[in-house]
């Protein structure tokens, strides 16, 4: 089936997304070939559901977003692959977080990926996956200048051969 990209989006928001084209300067194709077999590759996950480690990390800055709706927190969190649903919290003002808290796998399938690694379908999973807070088409310069390079460096340190990104 062909997915209807606007099925769950309020109708009045559709023009904010549809037909806007590429971001300025981001029109040309980019491509990094996947050269190894999956079974020899270590895979990383990235979610934009605003997940963070309850005990050891600070939340994303929702107060500032409340005060300034045009702003979004562009920091990122490293999420240990061993973290369970009891270890994480969710900071996100754009979705109902009940389902993610009940089963974080719907946003960050770390257990599912670990199973595929155990079965030899992928070579492995990184020790630390990545979480950001989404719904930020504004303030992209900070993401380009700081967040993206930091995440790239993290992924290299983790030995990631490929990344699955999932927006919330």
């Amino acid at each position: 089936m062909l997915v209807d990209s606007y099925r769950f989006l309020p109708r009045s928001f559709r023009p904010l997304y549809e037909g806007r084209g590429a971001f300025p300067g981001e029109e040309s194709p980019v491509w990094a070939p996947f050269e190894n077999r999956l079974a020899d590759s270590r895979i990383a996950l990235l979610t934009s559901a605003g997940i963070y480690m309850k005990a050891s990390q600070s939340t994303f800055d929702l107060d500032r977003e409340q005060a300034n709706p045009e702003w979004g927190d562009s920091t990122w969190r490293s999420i240990p692959a061993t973290a369970g649903s009891d270890d994480i919290a969710v900071a996100h003002l754009h979705i109902n977080d009940e389902d993610v808290l009940a089963d974080p796998e719907i946003a960050l399938p770390m257990r599912g990926l670990a199973e595929l690694a155990e079965q030899g379908i992928v070579g492995g999973a990184v020790a630390n996956h990545v979480a950001v807070m989404g719904y930020q088409d504004r303030g992209l310069e900070e993401w380009r200048r700081k967040t993206a390079p930091e995440i790239v460096e993290h992924l290299r340190e983790q030995g990631a051969g490929g990344l699955i990104l999932a927006p919330a």
């Binding site: 089936m1 037909g19 990094a32 796998e105 992924l155």
Partner: protein, 112 residues
Amino acid sequence: MPVLARWIEAAGIPTVVVTMMPAVAEERRAPRIVGVEFPFGHAFGVPNDKAMQRRVLELALRVLAGASSSGARVDFDQEWPVPLREAYKAWQPKEPSPIVRKLLESRAQGRT
């Protein structure tokens, strides 16, 4: 998210975006795309439905490793099992997000 994927891809790490809005990811030139017709916040499927989540993850891996050129898109072939009206309501935050609140306020002002 598609633009973040582009920057990571440009740094040499292959990426795939699993998204509810694959048409937007195409417009934004994400290198590899898996479309899912799921409510926001549920990229990998229904909570606690391990089999469904695994099928989405496997499709993402297949597209990540097997797509042959930039802009490749494959959609997940399963509909959301909850009736639309119910699912549409369920994914949304209890309070409108700040940017939505602002939009609604400015629209209301435009009408007065």
